[in-house]
Amino acid sequence: MATPAIAIRDVVKQYRVKHEKGRTLKELFLRHRIYQETIRALDHVDLEIPEGRTMGVIGSNGSGKSTLLKLIARTSMPTSGSVEVNGRVSALLELGAGFHPDFTGRENVYLDGAIMGLPRRVVAERFDEIVRFAEMEQFIDAPAKTYSSGMYLRLAFSVAVSIDPDIILIDEVFAVGDESFQRKCMERMDDFKREGKTIVFVSHSLDAVRSLCDEAVWLDRGKVMCTGSTTEVIDRYLDSVNEEEEKRLAREQGVFRDEGRWGSYRAEITSVSLEDGEGNPKHIFRTGDRLRARIAWKANVPVDDPVFGMAIHRGDGVLCFGTNTSGCDYKPEKLEGEGELSFELDSLALLPGSYFFSFSCHSRDDSEIYDYHDRRYPFRVVDGPRREVGLVHMEHRWRGWGPGTGKA
């Protein structure tokens, strides 16, 4: 096999974490009293990236993704192990790091280019192209401090991609740009890919990783969890994230907080649990899944003619759905002692997102609220089998007429 573009062998990277950042002489003399902790950002990582491959790096915050890029970019040295890089590296880790706000865009292009290791002659040759890509023709001779953050970013990115590297490292740099800029960046990345360059791409946007990368590696707390085809790695990563979240949501549900709850408490909702179609407790559903919420109640004094209500809010506060028992088949006439009821959905229509259930119990004329649990029960909807966008799934069909469709 040909030599890989990047070979990372048994790399450990440790950081010392101190209580306070700056060290002073006093601390030096009292060294034994300082509390120091070492953190293992990378823990025996082995990774080989063949030339011309596009590798996505995914993982939650603090999993060591950025550290990995820094090691490849040579701005950081491994504590042990070796990092071998064959080819010229361009690290798009910090855009516009060399910019000086008092200088004009033109001066900054040269300055930033020099910091990235681009000879002045080359910057001069590519200057027009750089400015055109950044769409900055009009402002190139204005001082950089007058630029909007988007302009700043576009110009910096433009300089960065004008380098002709063999290996490109990208760390979420264009997440800050607007949609059209992001598309342009992705296009540029595709160009690089076609030219056979090796790309290492760190992103929290799994869609971006999916569309750009052939292969992916999943890091978790400094360890390589798995490598392989992008789809496979992303699926395994998502499974683990869902599992973690399931645990977290279950924990949160158990915590009985008083915020988001009010009422006269003549009758109380004592517990709410979410279940799947088989009656197993669950907090993560897919669009189209069966969902059942079991609500347990207790009447502190007998209550006549009660109404139970429910609502679903999306995480950003949008009310998605709400209803109550007043117009339906289940009409409790009187609450006495303890009991249960359930709210059931045969097919969950919500599209992926995070949501909250609210439940309430009040008098028929709404004059008295016995117990109101406002958005206390979180759940999440993840990718279902269909590719749909928006808030809810709508039952639908497509039909066509005209020549060539089999119908006239």
Partner: protein, 264 residues
């Protein structure tokens, strides 16, 4: 150590760009702009003139005014003071570059010293004018002027390498440096001629001569004002000290530069 020089050579373009950025950025946005490079030494001289020529009236047994003597020593001294003060901060203040972009980190302190050297040269232009105006004139010894310049330059490179590195780990450096530079100035013959030491005890003379800057500063004074060659013994000593400082400074810097990224 020489491989570092080689790498610096490969990145000479970046070095040049950063130096020119440093110099142009310094007075950017001010009305006088680049002229400040001349205006500041001129104003400094004016202050000395008023203080020592009119108010306190100090006169040396030479034909030039004390203010010019003071100015001649102070220009190369300011080169040292500014290099050390700005230089000790240069790694810490460029944290984003150090963390994110790979380039030989020595470029940062080197940039500071070179750009201060250029300031010194611009100040020298002012000095040349003053020397002309006051009829001190020039001599062929002026050809020797690059010698103390080079010695001081190498000395300061070594010092800023060491200090910029030390300041990454101990931020105390940037605070203590001002007071050290001030104390150092008093044991350097800038405010008084070296001949002032003649009737002083031997230990005091030794102490002042042990200071490498003594040989450098007196060389400037000898060449520019007194039209005579520098005291070779002490300039040689300064050159030796400068080389040692350079190598020690480079060694320290290279030894610890890999940890900068974690500490800044």
């Amino acid at each position: 150590m020489f491989s570092n020089l080689k790498e610096l050579g490969e990145y000479h373009e970046l070095l040049r760009t950063l130096v020119s950025k440093d110099i142009r950025a310094r007075y950017k946005g001010s009305v006088l702009g680049f002229l400040w490079n001349f205006a500041i030494p001129l104003l400094q001289l004016l202050v000395f003139w008023i203080l020592f020529g009119i108010i306190v009236r100090v006169q040396l047994d030479s034909d030039y005014p004390f203010a010019i003597f003071l100015f001649t020593g102070l220009l190369p001294w300011n080169f040292l003071a500014n290099s050390l003060m700005v230089g000790s901060l240069c790694i810490v203040s460029n944290a984003n570059l150090v963390k994110k972009i790979y380039f030989p980190l020595q470029i940062l302190p080197t940039t500071v010293v070179i750009s201060q050297l250029i300031s010194l040269l611009l100040g020298m232009v002012v000095l040349a004018l003053i020397v002309l105006v006051f009829g001190v004139g020039f001599s062929t010894y002026l050809l020797l002027l690059p010698l103390p310049l080079v010695v001081e330059f190498v000395f300061l490179l070594g010092l800023t390498y060491a200090l910029s590195c030390a300041n990454v780990f101990f931020r105390d450096v940037e605070h203590i440096i001002g007071i050290v530079v001030m104390a150092w100035m008093y044991v350097t013959p800038i405010l008084y001629p070296i001949s002032y030491l003649d009737d002083k005890p031997a230990w005091a003379q030794a102490a002042i001569h042990l200071n490498p800057m003594t040989g450098v500063i007196t060389a400037f004074q000898d060449i520019i004002l007194d039209h005579r060659p520098p005291d070779w013994k002490w300039l040689g000593y300064a050159a030796l000290a400068a080389l040692v400082t350079y190598f020690v400074g480079s060694y320290i810097f290279n030894r610890y530069k890999f940890r900068f990224e974690e500490e800044v």
